[in-house]
Symmetry: C2
């Protein structure tokens, strides 16, 4: 693919053609839409949530577990796989799908978020980012060209352009402006570098919380022939209201754009519901799995902390109507015991539950969009969950880069 | 059940009736026999190996995994479950089968091995053992009566009499004699205390490496109406030759005894093969799972250490003809990566493999007994594995008590 430095007519490219099955209604009651993303490894119904498999595994789960929880696409981290076991090694072993034994779609991020989040371990210039590995301190340099080369070697269905995100509240307007301009240049370079025909490439919109910079970035990235548009720099330390304003601004500019919109890093169910309502189609986050490993289980009635001693005597399943292997086979008492005994099985069962919860929640959202009842669902669930639970706060969604999922 | 202080006519009791499908041949070419143990939760073909689920979970596996690897009976540890989460809690929650979601047979040990192995943390007298918990230092006391009460509360298909094992090489003859005499008295008290009609009770033969004490213990325990006979105090620091001599002595005395013979704590395939050849029907050990979690994978060609960097580029399965989920779906390279990244999935996949290897090895042994080819199998495999590999040495089979599986 040849980079286009002037606004090009936008067309979905074949490797990830997006079909809008139901557009947002003309009455403006919701911006939510129903879609289907076609990829070389299968179709994905949207809105969708992507579990994160940082090191070529969604922590504690194998591919059969992922299939059972309902994952239809997962995200893997370019930064982590570049460092270990190495993208060239994965390419020699047949690519990421074969390496991890997962034959459904995969999206890789660009590594931008991780390398930019390394703090004192990195230096950013207009050409790229020099950083030190969080594993062994060795020095590396990511450019848009290298990020694309790594992703082409890994071989996901969807790659993502290299960008420079900034934490909204920790950045001056000048810093946001510089990073956003760089993201635009790096987007064009990512497109120019990308030529794997069986792989889609998504661009990333930045701009922090600055309305004009977000709008400018949106127009700039949308003018390029990406297959999908990521909205970056959110799911961090912004408030829900700030995030909503940014999303509304971006989605308004993309109203007639036929491509999928992917809000990076968001994973709490109510936050995703709000974002879907505002027009977002795709999500990813380590949150459901990370809190599960800490003993926090999500249910329609709220969050259960399985490390609480009260659960040691509770014979009920974590969630009575849940189809996951934890709820089908085991009691809260058993899971609470496994956590106390630090048994490995605790992490797998809890992760299966929270991911099932998230993915079933997205299925319910899709059904509500199809039925035309999404606004009612938003009203109903928002009313039931005020004030919001700690687990539903976005601030814990995404932690500083290199940690991974 | 009423305790018998005089040798009683031995009869298999209903909760674990043992059917000998093929007796050891009259020509003496092998003492191996084929059997079927009937329990309330199903039948078990013998010789059999029992994976160890110390804390009501075989580490890293769930019940579906256990079923898939081919486990037909597992062992759980009375000492650990008494301390955490507590036997009374498990009883309130419906018993151990329901608690851990496993509806096939379970055998519990008596806790004797664990509490006696606590070293400075315990004091033994003729009535029982006072010990301090390895979890919180709290003081507890096990007697034969309490061990049986705990096992009745847990509700396994097979309980085991409380005993005092001794490490052969670290004990004087006088110590072995005292412990063996105590084990005999505790056996009678265990029988007297036991009255759960749906639960079998096995007795334990001790006697260290002292030929006469072993013989005396064998006659004494065999005279009591237990449903099966455990051979304790081995799989420790004895040599293979010493173990073989003890087994030959015990089995000779039990030649006409219709009950299953269970050698406690042995788990390396070649050691089990040798013991089957000498007349043993049942085994348990943490060894296959423990070494798996350390990256040591068993194959017919030998042991693979997946932490070795060479495997990072090896696209082959760990064992080409293996039916386990690791070998079906993943390469050595992927498993080596998971171990290096300390990913939880590594422990599950490696454990699935080693347990499948062990259980398939036992199935092969049963087939050879049925075919009359066991002596040839012993000759063939022993010749191929001289000198023995480190992983096949018994010394690492059983570590000091409280650690558990």
């Amino acid at each position: 693919m040849i980079a286009s430095s002037v606004p090009a007519p936008v067309a979905t490219r074949r490797p990830a053609a997006f079909e809008i099955l139901k557009s947002a209604p003309a009455d403006g009651s919701t911006k939510a839409r129903l879609g289907r993303l076609h990829t070389p490894h299968g179709d994905i119904e949207t809105p969708t949530f992507m579990p994160v498999g940082t090191n070529a595994t969604v922590k504690a789960l194998d591919p059969d577990d992922l299939d059972e929880v309902g994952a239809r696409i997962i995200l893997a981290n370019t930064y982590h796989l570049y460092l270990r076991p190495g993208h060239e090694r994965i390419a020699r072993l047949g690519g990421l799908h074969r390496f991890m034994g997962w034959d459904r779609p995969i999206l890789t991020d660009s590594g931008g978020f991780q390398v930019v989040s390394l703090g004192d371990l990195r230096v950013i210039d207009d050409d790229g980012v020099t950083f030190r590995s969080h594993l062994d301190g060795s020095t590396h340099r990511f450019t848009p060209e290298l990020s694309i080369a790594v992703q082409e070697a890994l071989g996901p269905d969807i790659a993502v352009a290299f960008d420079q995100p900034v934490p909204p509240h920790a950045s001056t307007r000048a810093e946001v402006a510089t990073a956003t301009a760089r993201t635009g240049q790096w987007a064009a370079r990512s497109l120019a570098a990308h030529d794997r025909p069986d792989q889609a490439l998504f661009g990333i919109i930045q701009g922090g919380l600055e309305e004009d910079l977000r709008a400018e970035s949106t127009r700039q990235i949308a003018a390029l022939p990406f297959d999908g548009l990521c909205i970056g720099g959110l799911a961090g330390d912004e408030t829900a209201q700030q995030r909503g304003q940014v999303l509304d601004g971006v989605v308004a500019l993309l109203a007639d754009d036929p491509r999928p919109r992917y809000l990076m890093g968001l994973g709490s169910p109510l936050d995703m519901l709000d974002a879907v309502h505002r027009g977002v189609d795709m999500f990813d986050s380590v949150l459901p799995a990370r809190v599960a490993r800490n003993g926090s289980l999500w249910t329609p009635e709220g969050r259960l902390n399985l490390r609480n001693a009260a659960f040691l005597d509770d014979p009920r399943p974590v969630q009575a109507d849940c189809r996951c292997r934890l709820c089908r086979h085991h009691s809260r008492a058993y899971l609470a015991h496994l956590f106390r005994a630090d048994e490995l099985l605790a992490y797998r069962l809890a992760t299966c539950h929270n991911l099932t919860y998230c993915l079933d929640f997205m299925a319910r959202i899709r059904l509500a969009i199809a039925d035309g009842t999404l606004p009612a669902l938003v009203r109903d669930l928002t009313a039931r969950h005020v004030p919001r639970q700690p687990a539903d706060r976005p601030s814990s969604d995404r932690q500083a880069g290199a940690e991974g999922g």
